[in-house]
Each structure stands twice: as C-alpha cells, then as structure tokens.
Symmetry: C2
Subunit: 140 residues, 2 copies
Amino acid sequence: MNMTTRETQTDNNIFPKGEKAPVDYFTGTVWVRMLVPNDDTYNCQVGNVVFEPGARNNWHTHPGGQILIITEGIGYYQEKGKPIQVIRKGDTVKILPDVVHWHGASPDSEFTHIAINPNTQKGIVVWLERVTDEEYHNVD
Amino acid sequence: MNMTTRETQTDNNIFPKGEKAPVDYFTGTVWVRMLVPNDDTYNCQVGNVVFEPGARNNWHTHPGGQILIITEGIGYYQEKGKPIQVIRKGDTVKILPDVVHWHGASPDSEFTHIAINPNTQKGIVVWLERVTDEEYHNVD
C-alpha cells in the first residue's frame, strides 16, 4: 500500500486546497492537490482541483482521455464548437482522447472536481490557448 | 462529452447509494454506484462504494492495480500478511497489481470511497475468499 494522508484542515472539504495552478494554463485562482502522481504502474494521474468563482483552465486535450468527478459547486464544461454545459456536484464527465475542451467554475460558485487522467502512457495533457472572457460568458 | 447526472437525493453525500453489492463478494451491506463503466477507450472503471458499519469486500486482486479515494467516514484496508490500516476521509490508497487485499468500513462508521480501476485491458478484479470475522476484528 502507498497511502497519502491529508493534513489537518478546518473546512468541510475532502482535501486541502493544495498548490496554486500555473498562471500560464489557468485564468483566475485555481488550486491543485495531486492525489496520485503519474507513473508507469498505474498509468493514471489523479488530482483534486478547486476553482474559485470565474476561474477556468485553458483549452486543452488529453491523449488518453479524462474523467471528471464533480464533488462540490457549480461549474462549466465546454468542447470546441459546442455550447457550454453547466455541471454540478454529483456529475461525472467523460472526455474522449484529443477532444479540445476546457472546464472551470461558474461566475458565482466555487467549484471542485477530481480529475482522473487514464492511459498516461499515451501522454497526459496538451495545453492550448486561453479561454477568453467572451468565450467564458457565452452561456445560453 | 458523455455526462452522468445524479438523481435527486436528500442527504449530504456526493452520489446516490446505487445498487446493493453482490453477496457473493461482500459481507454486510454495501452499495455500489457505477460512475464510469469499463470500456476500451478509457480502460478505467470508476465506482462509488458505500459500506455500512462492519461491511467489507472479500479478499481480491486487481490485475491493473487500484486507487481508492476516501470521501467519507473511517474504514479498514489490509494487504495479505500485513496489519489492518485505518483509513479516513481525505486519504488516497494505491494498491499495486496482483496484491491480495480487502477494504471496508470500520465497525462503528459508515465508509465511502471512490474506487478507480485503471489499466482494465489487463483485467478488473479477481475475487478470492471471504474476510472472516476473526480477520476483520484482528486490529492492533
């Protein structure tokens, strides 16, 4: 067994917020706590991501696909050329390999998901351009 | 996108409890809600599992390994030949391929984890014998 135990925390979240996500690939304040780093045994990277209201990642793809498990709040998910979808606590999102997409919080809610990147032997993530304010606010 | 939306529920859990787990492989009452069924795109099966106090699965192995994300309660984890480990909300457990193990609730706490089975092209689970009451109560 290889076990990670959380640090003490005072709020009701499952995990501590972790580290600030890199500004090159995120807009607004986003916190990432790595739960399972990538390796060639599990081929599966798992992280907990907290987006403050209005925060989101850049457009990007995953060569091995991605699974999002929404654990708190209300957020947005969009695939290139399709409308923004509102996603909520209890939702699961499956993103096919190489589909261009982004995800993040809605404007008025903090938003938390567990991100599972399987098949990492094919690669983990390919970052693309920033999601503009115009794209972010283009909600039906 | 392939999205699963939870049904309405009245408690504070992230997911509905789902279906009762098969009695052949579990002792006590256990609920399984499949979040991502196995397929050959993601090669990654994800399920939410709720164990009532005292409930546990049989000894078993995963040919592709397993990752457990503990989201609620206090539970037990044991690998064959090693002591029982107490695991709690916020812990992550990584189980190597082919390691004989079991997991479940502690005697006095409901216990919930997300189970991630990666590398399912190698197989998902091999069930073994039941965890006896003597084994379950052999806690230091």
